[in-house]
Assembly symmetry: C2
Homo-oligomer: 118 residues x 2
DNA sequence: ATTACATATGAACAGATGATCATATGTTTG
DNA sequence: CAAACATATGATCATCTGTTCATATGTAAT
């Protein structure tokens, strides 16, 4: 957060900063992936699933019961969470256990909580 | 992440853990607000705006030019970012400068980046 | 006051999203 | 292998989202 940029377009007093900002921007693909990742967090059902998995790994129908939702709805959302690599799973007989994939999940949700608690 | 829960519903071997998880869950309103917050991060345009503001506060039309988008589109999105308290603004004559509101933005985006870079 | 400039806002429309329902897949047991 | 169980998946539909377009608001200068 240095100098600010004067308005407007062709009147910008600091074109070198505009240029600098452009260079600092991550590439389009990374920004797209980042937005996609946050979209995954941007749904109450998925947030609740992640919270439930904070406590213990669990099978699909347990999550469904805890959240009072259909098995199908949970399964669809677990798929989304898995594609985003936020959860992993392992099979044990008929049952498939889901668990949190890594600690970024906790950090990200924790920071989000801090923000809304202000 | 302690004991796992056995399947299914009425067959759960650890009903006390199910009960424990229910008690640990934040209230519905907090979860809703949290999802709403992440929804705001879940859009490429808004992510790009936040990234641009990492470097320097900026006026609307500068952002619009940097992102190569219409003034209206940027203005609509800045409104969303402001409602989520992710950005603030101040007026200086005709111009309105937008800036990042707090450091949670950097932390959250930073963690998100770490996650997708794996 | 009139004009120009910077920004905001409302309506509208296309595209994305999430739950439901019906059904399919994969596993174990008898 | 047939039945039961746990989970996954595809289609459908109502709802939500983001951009555009036209226009409104607010400020400064002449």
């Amino acid at each position: 957060m240095q100098d600010r940029i004067e308005c407007c377009e062709e009147h910008c007093v600091h074109p070198e900063i505009l240029e600098h900002v452009k260079l600092e921007m991550p590439n389009e693909e990374a920004l797209y992936d980042l937005a996609e990742l946050f979209k995954v967090f941007g749904d109450t059902t998925r947030i609740r699933i992640l919270y439930v998995l904070f406590e213990s790994e669990m099978c699909v129908c347990d999550i469904a019961e805890l959240l009072n939702m259909s098995q199908s709805a949970i399964s669809h959302q677990l798929r989304v969470l898995k594609q985003a690599k936020l959860v992993g799973n392992r099979r044990e007989g008929k049952t498939i256990y889901y668990f949190l994939a890594d600690d970024h999940v906790r950090t990200i949700i924790g920071q989000g909580m801090e923000h809304i608690e202000e």
